[in-house]
């Protein structure tokens, strides 16, 4: 058991290392010259050469990679090309904003999706079940930026209830924070709900077909009791797995949502940094997104292992 989890962890670290290679390679072959992007089209060749020299851009790629990796592991994320300030400082503010958004979205999405999935499973084939299936699939099949814009048109432009963009988060009051986060969080909810609803429903229904459920029914237990007390605990493995996977998506899939709402999180920072060729920032944001995703997937796997005796025994 422990061995299996350890193996997963080692594989996870290996994936992160491979990702670091990819991130470095991709940012290295991005077209365009960093010095030109920083100094502008009108800079002289001498000033560009001086800048390249100062940033060490003339050294071979493998040396820069080794340096970069070693520094990153030690927590030194380098200095932003564009602003000359430590990357860690810029990134930490943005990470906090993205986390706020992810947490609010998770607090909304997880209970709502689980409740709807359970209701659906309790009344399979009912009009409610069918409507929910169609509705949730319809919403999830629209790209986030479409959902986001529809929400903006409805709630911000037509009814003027919520701000259309959240360029800076008013963290001085809880109400202000929630107001600013409402539309981005709803958009993220739309993106992750279907997977969780469908999985909860499928997992619970799967258990509902088991003989012990029939036994409970014969003993006269109520429908609610059967679903919550008998079926749910036995379906928790796959549900937890899918929740963890979607949390990973909430953190790493925010790029589009942050751009649509101009929300100052890590995703928007990444997009802005690509425009200014700010390599250290692009690299670290990519690493943060990928590492979070890998860690949450690892967590999902581990929880699935813990909750499923068959997988556990396979070890």
């Amino acid at each position: 058991m422990l061995k299996l989890i350890l193996l997963r962890a080692v594989l996870g670290i290996a994936s992160i290392w491979v990702i670091s290679l990819l991130v470095f390679a991709i940012t290295d072959i991005l077209p365009g010259d960093t010095a030109t992007a920083i100094l502008g089209q009108e800079a002289t060749e001498e000033s560009r050469a001086a800048l390249r020299d100062r940033l060490g851009l003339d050294r071979p790629a493998y040396i820069r990679y080794a340096d970069w990796l070693a520094n990153m592991v030690q927590g030194d994320f380098g200095v932003s090309f564009a602003t000359d300030t430590p990357v860690a400082q810029t990134v930490s503010l943005r990470v906090a904003n993205s986390l706020r958004l992810a947490i609010v979205a998770a607090i909304l999405a997880v209970p709502i999706s689980l409740a709807l999935g359970l209701l659906s499973a309790a009344f399979p084939g009912s009009p409610f079940d069918k409507a929910l299936t169609v509705g949730s699939l319809l919403v999830v099949s629209m790209p986030e930026f479409v959902v986001g814009l529809l929400l903006v048109l409805l709630l911000a432009v037509s009814f003027k209830l919520l701000p259309a963009v959240t360029t800076s988060l008013d963290t001085s009051s809880l109400a202000g924070t929630l107001r600013g986060l409402a539309l981005p969080a709803l958009t993220l909810l739309a993106a992750v709900q279907a997977h969780m609803i469908r999985m909860t429903r499928a997992a619970v229904l799967d258990v509902m077909r088991k003989p012990f459920i029939e036994m409970a029914q014969l003993k006269g237990a109520s429908r609610g009791r059967i679903v919550l007390r008998h079926a749910l605990p036995n379906a928790v493995g796959p549900i937890v797995n899918v929740v963890a996977l979607n949390l990973g998506y909430l953190v790493s899939g925010v790029v589009v949502v942050e751009v649509v709402f101009s929300y100052p999180g890590l995703g928007l920072l990444m997009v802005q940094s690509v425009a200014t060729r700010d390599m250290p920032v692009i690299q670290i944001t990519a690493m943060i997104f990928c590492t979070t995703y890998v860690l949450l997937t690892l967590l999902a796997d581990t929880l699935a292992l813990l909750s499923n005796p068959r997988l556990r025994d396979a070890a």
Binding site: A37, L39, V165, P264
Partner: protein, 524 residues
């Protein structure tokens, strides 16, 4: 204005514009609505908070005037600082921190008299030493200011304060355009010795209260502003919203009162709303189609003329730019420029003449590759439509789309025929010289013309307006007839504000009245 290399910001803007291109083609031409921006019936009201969204913002945002590069940098700097010389909405020069200026007959020594009783936000009185410090900072290669090459004629060591209000500027070569150069936005005046531009100090109508690059900046009224009674507004918030639809939505939802760079295909919709005003202002920005004239096939002026005659300018303007612009004459001088030559006729769309010139050059049936990119505003649409027009003259143009990322370093001036964009230059000399003088660094058409070079050189030393004008008219004629580039359209600045915002006058130099908001006010 500078060429914006930070234009990578615009990448996201484009996919949606492409999407709307079909609908755009069918839309009727909508003229800019200069709504009630000048209705002063009850007079301006004091106070109020003005919230503005520019089209990009990044961690690279700066309040250091010497390093101003993006639209939002300029927007913010204009609130904090003043220049010696301003450009008025009609394009003429007007005094700002300088009360007057005068050059000697040779045009190589200038005396600038400063306005009296101007103080910085920190209380310090403006003196000639502050101006000297400002100019020397820009001249210092260490500062890496984009304006250094533009003012390279100023002898930094010889800058001298005759007294606290009189500045003497010596030039290493005659330059009749010096007053225009003093209006460069990189020459916003900072107090002597100031280096911490996270905490900027200027003489402008507003002082900076907070600034977070890539997020927002807040400005508050400068009660001691040297224009008495001004500004009217109490506070200005500036943010960047990259996505054009999100930006427009923010305006519709009332989150902001004004946005820069309204998408051309949103103009019609915006104009139909009573609570929104659209500002569509003729400007110097234009796309060029530079043909590398140092190698076949473009070394033949007949080939270049054929391609110029194959362009239907009026149609291109109405279809690719939704009519939001002014047609061009294959030279970079915009029609509102005082030096614009009105005697050059607009080149007609003439497939027969195009065929004639192509035949003369022996290039019948040849295929010409035109490279464009989404980084060129409306460039992909324009190139596609142009290829269609040219095919009627029997000219095959193959449109290739290069990636927006790295276009300026990897594609532009490397391909034989790659589109480019210019946002306008501060002086007539640099407008004509920057891309067409033989030795110009950005000679994108690799074009060499000794007569043209000589005209530019001669005109630099002439201070008499009419004599200069004659020379510059001749330069424009040469460019139109022999130049390397097709310049079919000048693009309008497109912005939108809430109808409540008054006192912003359309300005040919830039967005939202070139951000000169000391007379802006809110009608509640």
């Amino acid at each position: 204005m500078k060429r914006q290399t930070s234009a990578g910001h615009q990448n996201l803007a484009v996919s949606r514009r492409e999407f709307g291109a079909g609908a755009l083609a069918l839309a009727t031409v909508v003229c800019g609505v200069f709504s009630s921006h000048r209705s002063w019936a009850d007079g301006p009201k004091k106070g109020g908070l003005f919230k503005v969204a520019c089209d990009s913002s990044s961690a690279k945002d700066t309040l250091d005037p010497a390093k101003t590069i993006s639209v939002i940098d300029l927007c913010r700097a204009t609130q904090i600082y003043n220049r010696l010389v301003d450009i008025a909405p009609d394009g003429t020069l007007r005094p700002a921190l300088a009360e007057s200026w005068e050059g000697n007959a040779a045009g190589d020594e200038w005396v600038v008299k400063l306005r009296q009783g101007v103080s910085f936000h920190n209380g310090k009185t403006l003196t000639a030493e502050d101006v000297i410090y400002t100019i020397r900072r820009v001249l210092d290669p260490e500062t890496a200011s984009g304006a250094r090459v533009l003012i390279a004629d100023i002898d930094g060591a010889a800058l001298k304060a005759d007294d606290s209000r009189t500045l003497r500027i010596k030039l290493t070569a005659p330059n009749a355009d010096l007053p225009s150069l003093l209006a460069l936005y990189q020459l916003h005046v900072v107090p002597e010795g100031h280096t911490d531009f996270a905490k900027p100090v200027g003489t402008g109508p507003f002082s900076c209260r907070s600034f977070e690059p890539g997020v927002a900046a807040v400005f508050v009224r400068n009660a001691n502003y040297w224009k008495s009674e001004l500004p009217y507004l109490d506070e200005i918030h500036t943010i960047g919203i990259q996505d054009p639809t999100a930006r427009f939505n923010a305006l519709l939802a009332g989150d902001v009162h004004a946005i820069t760079k309204l998408d051309a295909n949103l103009v019609q919709r915006a104009s139909s709303l009573t609570d929104i005003s659209v500002l569509s202002t003729p400007g110097p920005a234009h796309a060029t189609y530079p043909m590398r004239s140092d190698a076949p096939p473009f070394d033949s002026n007949d080939v270049r003329l054929a391609l110029k005659y194959a362009m239907d300018r009026e149609k291109l303007l109405s279809v690719a730019y939704a009519g939001q612009g002014v047609v061009g004459y294959d030279h970079p001088v915009a029609s509102f420029n005082p030096y614009f030559c009105p005697e050059i006729p607009l080149r007609p769309y003439d497939p027969e003449r195009a065929k004639f010139h192509l035949k003369k050059a022996g290039q019948e049936g040849a295929t010409f590759e035109l490279t464009t990119s989404t980084i060129i505003q409306n460039g992909v649409e324009a190139a596609t439509i142009y290829a269609e027009m040219a095919s009627k003259a029997g000219i095959n143009i193959k449109v290739t789309q290069a990636p927006a990322d790295g276009y300026w370093s990897a594609t532009w001036m490397k391909k034989p025929w790659a589109m480019s964009t210019w946002w306008g230059r501060p002086t007539i000399d640099s407008t004509l010289g920057v891309a067409y003088a033989s030795d110009a660094k950005w000679n994108e058409g690799a074009w060499k013309n000794a007569k043209f070079d000589q005209i530019l050189k001669d005109a630099r030393a002439i201070t008499d307006f009419d004599r200069r004008k004659q020379l510059y008219w001749e330069a424009q004629r040469i460019l139109a007839e022999e130049g390397p580039s097709i310049i079919p359209v000048f693009m309008n600045w497109l912005d939108a504000t809430s109808a409540k915002i008054k006192g912003i006058q359309s300005h040919p130099m830039g967005n939202l009245g070139w951000f000169q908001w000391d007379e802006a006010w809110i009608d509640s």
